[in-house]
């Protein structure tokens, strides 16, 4: 409702035409993003534009936490200090035993000729905020490509695995939580070494072992740790404990519902584990269609002369 008279004859295309144009543009983007992932560069730039607002968005919560800390009483601080010192002592003992055990394991592995496991590098990061998308379970952390975070790195807190970095922006990274419906993690039952794959169960905040054999030796209360055979998650990190097993007489398979041990929905600080072990290359069949194209391009580029030289 402004005061200038409307320009009757030049108002651009009709709204319906514009809607049609932008809707088709969106649909094209959606298909490109969902199927081919060609627009990651554009996404990074847009994410950089949204970053200041995201950063400011977390400020009120930070401020509230700081003010709360400021007013915590002396007595509580002393008690907490004592508690932490006791815990540090216990951890120090554990760490000493762990070092001895690790040295022994390495020696034994060398004796049987197995590949040595590389040490894990852990970088602390702070959780910026939880994804706004109600359809998936994601976290955003304050480390990105600028801090050398790589997609695929496992994320853990002090109790166990939380998830995996699925997308890296310049300054933030997206972490898909284990409870996301599209996440899977290879696990092993601590009690008997039974291997399985745990899938996220979505909104319930649980994990599921699907398609277990109906007679599989798994019990309520069993602890699950990563088996490390996927090459993404290092072996031996705690993942979940079994809370319920559904064995249906009509079904061939049993289904186990597990509660994650890590604070997936709580906690402010996480560790980015950089898994630096060298993997053998994936077999060609496992690569996607883009890999296929790249391979063809490589084959084309390699002219016969070069191939001869290589021989």
């Amino acid at each position: 409702m402004d005061h200038t008279p409307p320009p009757f004859f030049k108002r651009g295309p009709a709204p319906l035409v514009r809607l049609f144009f932008f809707a088709s543009l969106s649909l094209a983007l959606l298909v490109i993003d969902a199927r081919f992932r060609y627009v990651e560069g554009l996404r990074s730039w847009l994410a950089l534009a949204a970053y200041p607002l995201q950063r400011i968005g977390t400020a009120p919560v930070d401020l509230a936490a700081r003010v709360g800390e400021y007013f915590s009483t002396q007595a509580r601080l002393v008690a907490e200090n004592e508690q932490l010192r006791a815990r540090a002592l216990a951890y120090a003992q554990d760490a000493q035993r762990f070092q001895a055990a690790q040295a022994e394991t390495e020696q034994l592995r060398r004796l049987i000729g197995a590949a040595e496991r590389l040490a894990l590098r852990a970088t602390p990061a702070e959780v910026l905020y939880v994804g706004r998308d109600p359809y998936s379970r994601k976290l955003f952390i304050d480390r990105g490509a600028a801090q050398d975070v790589r997609p695929g790195s496992p994320i853990a807190d002090e109790d166990g695995v939380i998830g995996q970095v699925t997308r890296v922006h310049p300054l933030v990274s997206e972490v898909s939580l284990l409870t996301d419906r599209d996440q899977a993690i290879p696990v092993q039952v601590v009690r008997n070494g039974l291997r399985a794959v745990a899938f996220g169960a979505g909104a319930s905040g649980m994990l599921e072992l699907r398609f277990m054999s109906a007679v599989a030796d798994i019990q309520t209360g069993d602890r699950l740790v990563t088996s490390g055979i996927d090459g993404t998650y290092p072996a031996g990190l705690p993942v979940a404990s079994v809370v319920r097993i559904e064995r249906d007489a009509e079904e061939t398979f049993a289904r186990a519902v597990c509660q994650p041990v890590a604070g997936i929905e709580r906690g402010r600080y996480v560790l980015i584990l950089a898994n630096e072990s060298a993997h053998p290359p994936l077999p060609d069949a496992a690569k996607d269609r883009r890999g296929d194209k790249a391979r063809k391009a490589r084959a084309k580029a390699k002219d016969p002369k070069e191939a001869d030289a290589a021989r």
Partner: protein, 168 residues
Amino acid sequence: MLPARSQILMPVRASTIMGSFALALFLNFLPWPDMRVVPDFVALVLAFWCVRQPRLVGIGIGWMIGLVADAGNGVLLGQHALAYSLLAFLAIWLSRRILWFGAALQTLHVALLLLVCQGAALLVRLAAGDSFPGWAILVGPLVGALLWPAVTWLLLRPQRRAEREQAI
């Protein structure tokens, strides 16, 4: 030709519009506990400007802000863009009608707009293979519609003249 009970407003400044969108994005990025019942502030502000200033804010701007929202939330690129361009179109289409009603009936119209916007996003996600997140997803748009009178009051403030000035 002005709707009943309306006063003559000063022309809007571009900085007001940009500031309101930045504020709405900021509110969307706050760490809310349950995203399903929190209204989409950007959608609300977009609907407001499309109703009030259909020749300044339109489908193109809605689409671009939708892209930023997509990247910031880490969802499929184009989901919010599609929902917001649909919302902008409906708001522009209904803008002449909405302003003739009082606050309560305007709220009903806006509830419909926001529900359609949420529904478009829902359809995109279901098509992309996600599961239905529960009926609580309808609460957010309804809460957003209830905020409409407050948003109207707040965003029209810079355009309103002082009472005294108007009396002269």
